[in-house]
Symmetry: C2
Subunit: 442 residues, 2 copies
């Protein structure tokens, strides 16, 4: 006998058993449905790319985390670490055939050999949508609407979409004479909540050369709060004197009007001047989404507008806008909020294999249930009833359908509600209807 | 400016643009729906596995094709080359928590560094379902029913599921005294259609030591045809004297009775003694599925029963049965049969951005259409009508919704059927209903 090999997964990787995969698939299907409802079309790209394609655009950090090797033909290749670089490569390569605007969604795994920590894996799914080739406000409005519809469709509970425009802060920095210090200023402001104004003031002085007066203006800016209109009104005197700042505030006002027209309830979208995101990438609207009942987990859907998607690969200007759903974070949050049912089967009903001689009857009954839309499994072996019901319970079936020889002879079966334990006898030709009623789908 | 990097994919890999990905997603969603309707639950496993896990079970050929490398921690790892090895590893690793029977489906990419040829890629999707931990005939019946329902749900046109039982041929070989030559016999018989009886007779003599009489018996066996019952009746005298052969024929008869009870039309399932499949793996029922209008492309859904899924990883007996949908082959066939519409958008309607000042009206109209179930895109920029209709045409939208200032003032819009070119004017609050009617979904 050959030596046994220990069955195990690599560190930082994980299996998705049914109870984890069922809600994941549901989430991804909801995302697809919402993306499609706005005209985003699916694409897919290879997991493996030429190494130079991947390192051309990434940061030093992603370069270090790349899974890279030589393939059978001696080519330097790597596993994609996000879906944005493949989109850029794809858009540049197929620009002619695709035409612009080009709207795509892409859901797929990516790989990063980063140090593992709680809740972080070396393989994870990204779930992106983008519109490439557009600069108008309509696509700013749309990205917010898509995230909004997605949150509603997923049933995540109360949520807030926070938007900002990179030009607002840049306008303020121009006004303050700190335009060339945006990176340092943002890095310092980012610590305001945690470290407090004194420490941030010191950092601003040290790294950005900011005076106390400049720091005060920045604090007023970053701490501007209230409903969206109030924030707009408060920001206008701070940055409105600057052309970029004024235009950016006008743009945010247009976005607010557009999303209201699209049916977003007042208060669900707020303007948060502290949101910056991907400093070297986003250039216009930026957005984050937080769950009101779990704000601490951070943003579950984020994105923004960029000027130049694929400058590494093409001289064609490819501006665009998009966002990404944080699949793992959102699922963890929904679990914590008790919004995920734990089931191990996607089926509704288990037909008990009671009498070993009556397989044909059970198969026919299951086919009848399935035809009515009741997902139905037939237990694969004639075992004791108790054992089969135990299986049904463990898997999370909602109904068991039980028929012994006497019931079959009478043209009947028992429908057992596994949550309440109640049984009732129904005619075989009415079983599907009764099952739908028991499932609340009649 | 940094040097530009050529945007390209690796040899043997491909991008899936929307017109390819839309039917692929539809196919995979249909597969999920059918698998779930029988109680198969989704799982996923990592793309990367320990190299020893992958090479433990594979053949020399798959070993050679493995994408393998050392990860950042110096571990020998590889990309999975199928979904069966991961299932075996998964089932062995989690046997305790999962319990038996365990029914799972798994749809995901696999990688093989094989020589590229027409229609073969180094990355492709597999789409498997299996029941682990069962030996009874109910699961034989089920695997045929799942494939049957899947073919119907996919709308592939006329199809035939061919089944066989490995014990039938083995019984005949025992009868003929050739039991230890099954590999050689099957290899020779496999060439019967192409090479003809004379050449196969010579090969049988040379590799299996078969006499003319033995070869004649094998030919009669392999060429047995007709409807399922006729084949069973013809095979019985050939192999029925042997206990294994007789039991296997009985089992096939039970499978036929079960699938008939499950609603499979007579003639859709045939017994084909020439089907062997995976000699060193399958041990009971085997099946293949061919499209009646394109038999030459081979099987589009295949599988069978196995005694020992995971002997490499565990001493627990894990018998099972399953099958796999050939995603690429089936999509190519459906395209050849004209069963795939070429569209580049998943949306139904394009709202033309006609008047640059009326974005809010277009957004509101689109939201109304979406709420009624009409997937609707708003063109992202106010451009000439002709240009927007050209875009709608290229993408494959079925409807365009057009409203200028006058129409909006009158509370109306035009609904244009892009296939017929016909337009009609409808009230804005009746636009969704009219769109559904135009799409044939009212």
């Amino acid at each position: 006998m050959p030596e046994r090999i220990t069955p195990r997964t690599l560190k930082g990787f994980r299996d998705y058993p049914p109870e984890v995969m069922i809600p994941r698939e549901r989430l991804m299907e909801t995302a697809r449905r919402v993306y499609r409802s706005y005209g985003y079309a699916p694409i897919d790209t290879p997991a493996l790319e030429y190494l130079e394609v991947l390192t051309g655009k990434g940061s030093d950090e992603t370069d270090k985390q790349l899974y890279r090797f030589q393939d059978h033909g001696g080519r330097d290749v790597g596993l994609r670490f996000d879906l944005t670089v493949p989109l850029a490569r794809f858009a540049a390569q197929h620009a002619q055939q695709l035409g612009l605007p080009f709207k795509r969604y892409h859901i797929g795994p990516v790989w990063r050999g980063e140090n593992t920590q709680k809740g972080r894996y070396r393989e994870f799914v990204q779930c992106d949508f983008d519109t490439v080739g557009v600069t108008g406000v309509a696509s700013d409005v749309e990205v917010v609407l898509v995230v909004h519809d997605l949150m509603l469709a997923l049933g995540v509970g109360r949520f807030t979409i926070r938007i900002n425009h990179r030009g607002v802060l840049n306008g303020l920095l121009e006004t303050l004479g700190l335009a060339d210090r945006s990176v340092e200023v943002l890095r310092a402001l980012d610590k305001l909540t945690k470290a407090g104004p004194d420490k941030v003031r010191a950092e601003l002085a040290e790294t950005a050369g900011a005076t106390d007066q400049q720091a005060d203006a920045l604090f007023r800016f970053a701490e501007t709060g209230g409903d969206a209109q109030t924030v707009l009104d408060s920001l206008r005197p701070l940055v409105g004197g600057n052309a970029l700042g004024a235009a950016s505030l006008d743009r945010l006002a247009e976005v607010l009007a557009g999303v209201a027209a699209g049916g977003v309830a007042s208060g669900r979208v707020q303007i948060d001047p502290s949101i910056a995101r991907g400093l070297d990438y986003y250039t216009g609207l930026v957005l984050e989404t937080t769950l009101d009942d779990l704000p601490g987990i951070g943003s579950v859907a984020s994105g923004g507008r960029y000027d130049d998607l694929a400058g590494v690969y093409t001289n064609q200007a490819l501006p665009g806008i998009g966002a990404s759903l944080g699949v793992d974070r959102l699922l963890a949050a929904m679990e914590e909020l008790g919004l995920v049912d734990e089931v191990r089967t996607p089926a509704d009903a288990l037909v008990v294999f009671f009498d070993g001689d009556r397989l044909a009857d059970y198969v026919a009954l299951a086919a009848r249930l399935r035809a009515a839309g009741v997902a139905t499994e037939v237990y694969p072996e004639p075992k004791k009833l108790g054992k089969q019901l135990q299986y049904a319970d463990k898997k999370g079936f909602r109904l068991a359908v039980i028929a012994g020889p006497d019931e079959l002879a009478a043209g009947e079966c028992q429908l057992k509600d596994l949550a309440t334990g109640e049984s009732k006898t129904v005619r075989l030709d009415a079983a599907a209807e009764a099952a739908l009623a028991a499932l609340g789908r009649a």
